[in-house]
């Protein structure tokens, strides 16, 4: 239950991502909201993407935890940079996350009567994964597609490559695609290479060496 509360807490933090930039205080909240959304999305994607590869190691749980922490950190930093540099695009990511949340929930509700023992916690889990994937944009879909195609080719051509390895590669691709999207967003937001819909504003980037 504490984990569920933690997830809800993170989602509540993500809700703060949609804050208009109207001064330094709001800019701070944009940074916090972006970091929270990136952390949430990265950690969930890291968990999903590492489940099968880590399931081939001696220390599955530790391996997944490490992957989730690493991906969450990437998401956190990228999201914070995005929130600081391009609040409009962060808002787009939050909207896409909300759509993913709804899609995951809809899928879970549809599956619930069809699978015995499929609980509301399972529905919530699909929502969480859906929102994390949605918030990370099209990179997840591209990554999943590339991973799936590569996995299937390897499965058909390399005898020691199992179908489970192919499935693992697909999920790892999904996670990698999502993380690359977060990274690109963060870098672009700081370099001014991309702006979302709405009013544009000049960015001042302080670089410290």
């Amino acid at each position: 239950m504490s984990r569920l509360l933690a997830a809800v807490g993170v989602l509540a933090l993500c809700a703060t991502a949609r804050v208009e930039a109207q001064g330094s205080e709001h800019a701070t909240w944009n940074t916090i909201g972006g970091g929270a959304l990136g952390l949430y999305s990265g950690a969930v994607l890291g968990t999903v993407g590492s489940l099968i590869p880590c399931g081939q190691t001696y220390a599955t749980a530790r391996c997944v935890r490490l992957a989730a922490a690493g991906a969450g950190t990437v998401g956190l930093v990228s999201g914070a940079l995005l929130g600081e540099g391009d609040p409009g695009r962060l808002g787009d990511a939050a909207k896409a996350g909300a759509i993913g949340l709804a899609a995951g929930a809809a899928l879970g509700v549809a599956l619930k009567p069809m699978i015995q023992g499929f609980s509301w916690a399972d529905v919530a889990s699909l929502s969480i994964v859906g929102s994390a994937a949605g918030a990370s944009g099209t990179g997840t879909a591209v990554g999943f597609g590339v991973g799936a195609v590569t996995g299937l080719i390897l499965w058909k051509t390399v005898p020691s490559f199992d179908l489970e390895d192919a499935a693992g590669l697909s999920l790892a691709g999904l996670a990698a695609g999502g993380l690359v999207t977060w990274l690109v967003r963060g870098i672009e937001a700081q370099s001014g290479g991309h702006t979302s819909g709405g009013a544009t504003m000049p960015l001042v980037v302080n670089l410290r060496f």
């Binding site: 504490s2 933690a6 489940l51 880590c54 399931g55 997944v64 989730a68 879970g108 994964v129 199992d162």
Partner: protein, 404 residues
């Protein structure tokens, strides 16, 4: 500020997955219907998870199944384990009533279930068949308490001949039987009779020291069954038939890092360890000599009895964590031959560890898949164990009558 963010990330993601496993310990009457024998004062020893949450859920499933069944002595036509002879250990998921067990026994181990005599030629060689998803239809299976959610009936493909439950198979074939149910096979009633599903041991040798081991609860109730057969010269073998869960729902998958099968397997290993300590009075002692790579996490142990653990582990790949850890506990296991046993998946395995006076060991090259699934959705696996005085050549040159 960045350090704070990173710390927050690690704190949040660090509690995604637990690292602790549930210990399985001796249980009293927590699930008496599964531990009591009909028409007998003998009780099957029961081990169950020590964690309260597991037990509550297991009790609900347990209330809907009938009692365990033990018929420990085979027909008089089956003699004792001959000195110098080898023992065949087979494992097979029969998929409820799909698998034609009578035909399997006739073709793989030479036991006829029709006329009470072995199939021509020599008497059947000693064997132990470890079965998963065996079904029993009986009025002993109780009506489920109101509000109990029963699992659906297992899907079976049509096959020639009639479905025969495990009790009838054992009786018709004259074999010893230990059967312990895990769950109901659907909510249906058949003229006051109901069906349950579970694990079983069939043998042409007497069975002793029967123990039921409830595995930690993940998706459904799973109960492994263990029994001992005794060979010539005092060497004994504990055979354990187990069936692990397939995959949990998304919530459990994410929150446990997909370690459901690992948790069940480690619970089983713990229980077997407790049983050895309980029966011998001493803990398994470290063996002399160096520890090879598979036991890098645990010191090699000398066990009081040789043990074979086999069954449907539902592993989608041969490299899964569950198998890696089980191989540590069963370091004398044969290598997987690369042949899947359920569709394209290597679900079924036979693992072994030496024990006692170390006189019982697998015969190299004898571990393999049997090609004919006999209408089940799984193919069986077999391994030959050499008893004291037996030779590799002897066992290899004279396979079981009719074995394919």
């Amino acid at each position: 500020m960045r350090r704070v963010w990173i710390g927050l990330a690690l704190a949040l993601t660090g509690c995604v997955v637990p690292s602790t496993m549930t210990r399985v310990a001796p249980a009293g009457d927590s699930c008496s219907t599964a531990a009591r024998l009909p028409d007998s004062n003998v009780r099957v020893g029961l081990y169950a998870p020590a964690r309260p949450g597991d037990q509550e859920r297991l009790d609900g499933w347990c209330a809907a199944v009938g009692p365990a069944v033990l018929d420990s002595v085979p027909d008089g036509r089956f003699g004792p384990w001959p000195a110098g002879d080898s023992l065949a250990v087979l494992t097979w998921n029969v998929n409820g009533g799909s698998g034609d067990i009578a035909a399997f026994l006739r073709e793989q181990v030479g036991v006829s279930c029709e006329d009470g005599a072995s199939v021509g030629g020599p008497a059947p060689r000693p064997f132990v068949l470890l079965i998963q998803e065996a079904y029993r239809r009986s009025a002993d299976v109780p009506a489920a308490p109101a509000g109990t959610a029963l699992p659906p009936k297992i899907k079976e493909d049509a096959r020639p001949g009639s479905r025969i439950d495990i009790l009838t198979v054992a009786r018709d074939c004259g074999l010893s039987l230990a059967y312990v149910p895990s769950k109901r096979n659907g909510p249906q009633e058949f003229d006051g009779e109901r069906e349950d599903l579970g694990t079983a041991l069939l043998s042409d040798l007497p069975l002793s020291d029967v123990i039921a081991i409830q595995l930690p609860f993940e998706v459904s109730r799973r109960v492994a069954i263990a029994a001992t057969v005794h060979g010539p010269g005092g060497d004994s073998l504990r055979a354990v038939s187990a069936h692990l869960d397939v995959s949990p729902g998304p919530w459990r998958l994410l929150s446990t890092a997909n370690t459901s099968r690992l948790r069940q397997a480690m619970g089983l290993v713990d229980a077997l360890q407790d049983i050895e300590v309980g029966s011998s009075g001493t803990a398994a002692a470290p063996a002399t000599g160096s520890c090879a790579r598979p036991c890098r996490h645990r010191e090699a142990m000398r066990h009081p009895i040789a043990t074979v653990l086999a069954g449907d582990f539902n592993t989608p790949s041969a490299g899964e964590t569950t198998l890696k850890h089980l191989h540590e506990s069963f370091p004398d296991s044969p290598r997987w031959d690369g042949q899947p046993s359920r569709g394209i998946f290597p679900a079924d395995h036979i693992l072994f560890r030496a024990g006692g006076d170390m006189s019982l060991m697998p015969i190299p090259g004898s571990y393999r898949r049997l090609e004919d699934p006999h209408y089940s959705d799984h193919r069986a696996r077999i391994i030959w164990l050499r008893s004291r005085g037996g030779t590799v050549a002897e066992a290899s040159a004279s396979p079981l009558p009719g074995a394919r």
